[in-house]
Symmetry: C2
Subunit: 238 residues, 2 copies
């Protein structure tokens, strides 16, 4: 036989891993709003549509369940997670914990390359804001925050951030337009980057807190607007 797989390791095509592919498809469908919160994810239907059997679909659903994107209801199936205002609050509390640390750590490790990447991302947001392209702005916003988390050099923290962002996009993806004035996004990010560049921990924390606080209020408002009346039970007055 040949001398071991030549280290050409290039296009590992067709990973036979259907589970990952299904998980990715479902995730995309959810964060892009094609699958609305509360929607049922019938495994048979998904399997038919993808031309595969139900087993990989079930396993993928389990993955997404433990990521919080789906909710398993025994004997009834999987449903797209519905987020309440409290869920959003919880998610932002976690983001605060994570991003405070990530931003401080990113500042400590700030390299010219990272700094350039962050500034580029901020410019991109400004540009998109000028064009008023709400969907891609949300994406650019996400990438900015992700860069910071990546720079902190903690793989688990990055995965956690990705998970939190995915969950949040369950609701954010529904509309795409988050801020009334898109340019506000760039405005609230600017001081964060400035603080990171200055390398002043307390200031970094303060600005991250402020920025996420603004974002949290926006998303909570969005969620509240999506659940018209928080009525408990439809009850008619006799």
């Amino acid at each position: 036989m040949r001398a071991m797989s030549p280290p050409v390791g290039l296009p590992v095509l067709a990973e036979s891993d259907l589970v990952r592919q299904v998980a990715r498809r479902l995730t995309d469908a959810i964060v892009q709003g094609q699958l609305a919160p509360g929607a049922k994810v019938a495994e048979a239907a998904v399997a038919r549509e993808l031309g595969i059997s139900r087993a990989p679909v079930r396993e993928a659903a389990r993955l997404l369940e433990s990521q919080g994107l789906l909710k398993a209801s025994p004997r009834r199936g999987f449903f797209v997670r519905e987020l309440s205002a409290q869920d959003v609050d919880e998610l932002y509390d976690l983001r605060l914990c994570v991003e405070r640390h990530a931003a401080v750590e990113a500042a400590r490790r700030l390299t010219p390359a990272l700094r350039a990447a962050l500034r580029r991302q901020l410019d991109l947001m400004r540009e998109l804001a000028r064009r008023d392209d709400p969907a891609t702005i949300v994406e650019a916003d996400y990438q900015f925050h992700r860069l910071i988390c990546e720079a902190a050099g903690n793989a688990r923290m990055l995965r956690l951030f990705d998970g939190l962002a995915s969950e949040l996009r369950i609701v954010i993806g529904l509309i795409g337009r988050l801020y009334d004035d898109p340019r506000e996004i760039a405005r609230t990010h600017e001081p964060v980057l400035a603080a990171i560049e200055a390398g002043h921990p307390e200031r970094i924390v303060a600005h991250v807190d402020h920025h996420l606080g603004v974002a949290r209020r926006e998303v909570v408002r969005l969620v509240r607007s999506l659940t018209p009346t928080p009525r408990e039970t439809r009850r008619q007055i006799p």
Copy 2:
């Protein structure tokens, strides 16, 4: 319509959810050290042993994979996660983020009941330390921290904490004895509780930082002692 089903509805009978049960069994086996890091988890063997088919085992393994307890190696199966010193560092960074927030929040919401529970837990640790019962001390330690996270009132944060604790117990469970002097555990927890009772945010953060810093060093030392030589590749000198 009537006042709905009379409030009798109580004894929720066990859902026949094999996946949950398998996941729990595997988790227990891992954190209790019956399945050592790096050990292969052969689905066929597990299924045989439990007298069920492979499908539920696979789904349970997926759950544990996304929790970080198992690692999936395509076409080769699932393996118990191996933790490096850097993994431990990452986990403790995350714990720091979470527990700082949780402790401050717990102090803000401190009730007499919670305070009593925490103090009771601390007393328990002291008692166990006197008896020199390393295994249960680790468990009591975990419960103390968990109480604080629970008190913060963020379900996701609690789940995150549980996940982090599980991962850490992959290595901690191996030995059971973490501190050279068990009584040191109670000693390093005491100021944390005192700070929470005092309700002084900065002091809380400082003491949580210190306590987790000590614990981190202990666990890193433990991990280092478990991986005798961090050799990269076994290579013979020609």
